[in-house]
Structure formats: structure tokens, C-alpha cells
């Protein structure tokens, strides 16, 4: 079935079109949605393109704001976003990163979603075209249909770390990935987020509790590693069984916390 393409110059027009037409999907970088078009997916019959420059804008101050249409390639190359570059570079190969966007990553099915996991760890909020704000942590659990215009988060004052665990090198789908925000000097929130340990990026609450205020203490790291999979339901798929993921989650978390 052919798919109609509607291109909008403003985010608000695109949002209205998207929210009023349940058979529409957004073509952001297209790396997921075009696969579905090629396969003849009939669950949608319209693609919405956004050419509003605001959708591609990056602003870096005490708050960092990334338009939904900012690409992984742009993040990887951005002078002031060096801490996020390892996450952006973990998404696909160079050709994918040329177009793959931040907003698309929030809706990517598992095992994808490295940037989504990082944004949950950074405490990011997603902004709609009308200015509504919703924590990315909630959005990834399944949010009401809305166009994500941008994501915003405070510039991390602590230590931000990221690791992607794959079986194929240099490129491959993630068995799991881990994003960690570790406050410096003991104040601030510790956030540990796993992708691959649940149906969407999830916080490892037990590990966070073990680490709170003492993320470099070896006994706290050991306790966090033991508790890494507590309360989580890892994916069970062709890449790895849930059992395997539960076994290795703590090992990879420990390596990330010990890395310097």
C-alpha cells in the first residue's frame, strides 16, 4: 500500500497532523520507519516530515536542549556534548548515524534505545510542540500519542558514564547498555539505567540505593553489582536469554563503575 508523505514547516502544524491522524507516523531520520515502509506495513498510510529548523536545534547552557531531529552524527561531533558522544557513536554504523535522530531513538524497539537510556539517566524531559513536558523516564513506558519537539536536561554536574555490551564488534545490537549518572562529592541523585533489562530503559533502583553517595567505594560497587538485576525483567531474545542477562548485568555494571 502506498504511503502518503506530508511535509510541514512548523512543529505545531506537524504536531496537529500527527495527533489527529492515527494512521500517520513521523519520518524523523527514517531508519526505523522506512524499514516498515519497505516491508509493506499497513498499520500506517502517512508519513509526516518536519522541516522546522527548531526541530534540528541544539542549545547548550546550564540546561542542554536537543531538538528531536538532532542526529547521532551531530551529537558525536558537537564540541560541547563530548560526554554524550560515546552514546551517539554506539548507535548503528556511520550511515545510520548520519540520519538517526534523538526523537526516533525514544520510540525505537528493543534492543535499540541507547540514547533513550542515556536521557533517562540524565533526567531528561521530552517537550511537545505545545510546550508540555514529560519525563523521558515516563515517556519510554508508553505515553499518549504526541510529537516530541525536543528533549532537555540539566548539564550533568556529576560523572556521566556509558557502556554498550555487544557480541559483534565493532558494530552490533546491544545485549544491554548501561548509562550511569554519579554525583560528584556525594550530593545529587545517583541514576543507573539499563537498556535490555526490561521492555524499555529501566532504572536499577536496588543498585542506585547501594551506590547512593559512595559510588567509588569498592564495597558499594560490589553491593550494587550483586543487586544490579533486582526487580528487573531482562529481555529473553535471540541475542541472549533472560537468565544470561541477569547473570552478567552486575559484571558489566561493576566494570563501568570501576572504569576510570
Amino acid at each position: 500500500m502506498p504511503v502518503a508523505v506530508s511535509t510541514f514547516r512548523t512543529l505545531s502544524e506537524a504536531a496537529r497532523a500527527f495527533e489527529s491522524d492515527r494512521a500517520a507516523r513521523i519520518y524523523s531520520g527514517g531508519t526505523i520507519v522506512m524499514r516498515d515502509v519497505n516491508e509493506g506495513d499497513v498499520s500506517f498510510n502517512r508519513l509526516i516530515r518536519i522541516t522546522d529548523p527548531a526541530y534540528r536545534a541544539v542549545s547548550v547552557g546550564s540546561e542542554i536542549r536537543l531538538g528531536g531531529g538532532v542526529t547521532m552524527g551531530e551529537i558525536a561531533a558537537h564540541r560541547d556534548l563530548a560526554f554524550l558522544a560515546p552514546v551517539a557513536r554506539a548507535v548503528g554504523g556511520p550511515q545510520v548515524r548520519t540520519v538517526a535522530t534523538v526523537a526516533g531513538n525514544l520510540f525505537a524497539p528493543r534492543p535499540y534505545g541507547e540514547m533513550a537510556a542515556a536521557l533517562v539517566a540524565l533526567g531528561a524531559v521530552a517537550e511537545t510542540a505545545e510546550g508540555r513536558r514529560l519525563p523521558v523516564e515516563e515517556l519510554v513506558r508508553g505515553a499518549p500519542r504526541a510529537l516530541v519537539a525536543a528533549v532537555a536536561f540539566p548539564r550533568p554536574s556529576g560523572d556521566f558514564r556509558f557502556a554498550k555490551v555487544t557480541r559483534v564488534r565493532p558494530k552490533g545490537a546491544a545485549l544491554m547498555s548501561i548509562a550511569a549518572l554519579l554525583p560528584r562529592g556525594g550530593s545529587g541523585e545517583t541514576r543507573i539505567v539499563f537498556n535490555g533489562m526490561g521492555p524499555h530503559p529501566v532504572r536499577a533502583v536496588a543498585a542506585e540505593r547501594a551506590l547512593a553517595g559512595r559510588a567509588s567505594d569498592p564495597s558499594a560497587i560490589a553491593a550494587a553489582a550483586r543487586a544490579a538485576a533486582e526487580g528487573l525483567s531482562p529481555l529473553d531474545d535471540a541475542l541472549a536469554s533472560a537468565w544470561y542477562r541477569r547473570e552478567v548485568a552486575g559484571v558489566h555494571l561493576k566494570r563501568l563503575l570501576e572504569s576510570r
Binding site: 502506498p2 508523505v5 531508519t31 524499514r35 554504523g93 556511520p94
Partner: protein, 166 residues
């Protein structure tokens, strides 16, 4: 089915074509523009055989909506040799020949375009940078070593592939 007119630069030539709704760039290049160098491999962006450059950056033509290239520059392997005048192979293509970097040859065009993008941005890449640059291109003959050596040789101006290892 609606047809949308678009114009783009194809290996230096101005082109104007009609694209179908939902048509991907690979289909447009092969069927409408008559350029058979980008290959159809998986149709899902996984194999890289359809890699072309859009405004100099590598993209997967099979998962790019054709109408997004309106007003942009597309470069494919068909333009590499022609760019050297009279069908002479480019240094990169020549290095692929010298290093036996093609076996069945199906991945070659995509590999060449990923390597072209790398060398334009970084004329003296390290081995690791070459590996990263072709990480989105699969070679099911598993001829990666020869391909990496070819890219390093082209980067070192045609000398020994070993030169690039240092």
C-alpha cells in the same frame, strides 16, 4: 499514486525526476535515474550495500525516503571513475583492485562509498578509523582484511598497505 517532482545533483549532473509516495532512494536511483551502482542487499539498512553520499555524508539509500534528497547532492560509485576523466579508476578503486578487495563484489560499491566519505573527512585514517568507517558495511565473503588494506593504501597515496598501520 501521487508523484512528487524533485531535483538533485547526481555525481555532478543536475537531475529532475518524479518520485512515488513512499519510494526509497535506492529504488529511485536504480529505476528512475538508471544508476545501478548502489546495490539492493537487505532492504533494511543492515548490510550497507546501498550506501551513497548525501551532501558528502554516507547514508543508506534503501531506508532513505527519495523525496528527502530534493535540492541535495548525491554521489555514487558511478561518479568515482568518471570524476577522474575518461573512465579512469579513482585511487581508491585502484587500491581495491591492487589488494584483491573484491571477491563476489556485491558489497564493494557500498564499501567504496563509506571509504570515500572517510577519506574526504580524514585523509590519513588509522586502521581503527577505517574499521569504524566500514562497520556499517557487511562483506559476506568476509574479505575485510583486504578491504581495510586497500583503504589504508589509498590513504597513503598508493604505497604499501602496511604504511597505514603505523
Amino acid at each position: 499514486m501521487a508523484k512528487t517532482p524533485i531535483a538533485f545533483t547526481h555525481n555532478g549532473d543536475e537531475r529532475a525526476v518524479f518520485v512515488d509516495d513512499g519510494q526509497n532512494l535506492l529504488d529511485m536511483l536504480r529505476r528512475t535515474a538508471g544508476d545501478l551502482t548502489p546495490k539492493y542487499g537487505c532492504g533494511q539498512g543492515t548490510c550497507g550495500a546501498c550506501t551513497v553520499l548525501v551532501d558528502g555524508a554516507p547514508q543508506l539509500a534503501c531506508i532513505t525516503l527519495a523525496e528527502t534528497v530534493d535540492g541535495r547532492r548525491i554521489d555514487t560509485v558511478a561518479g568515482l571513475a568518471a570524476g577522474q576523466g575518461g573512465g579512469r579508476l579513482s585511487p581508491l578503486q585502484k587500491a581495491f583492485m591492487d589488494n584483491f578487495a573484491a571477491q563476489c563484489g556485491y558489497c564493494t560499491d557500498g564499501m567504496l562509498m563509506s571509504a570515500t566519505a572517510l577519506l574526504a573527512r580524514n585523509p590519513r585514517p588509522s586502521r581503527d578509523e577505517v574499521v569504524e568507517a566500514i562497520s556499517g558495511n557487511l562483506c559476506r565473503c568476509t574479505g575485510y582484511e583486504a578491504i581495510i588494506n586497500a583503504v589504508l593504501q589509498a590513504a597513503s597515496g598508493g604505497g604499501s598497505a602496511q604504511a597505514g598501520r603505523r
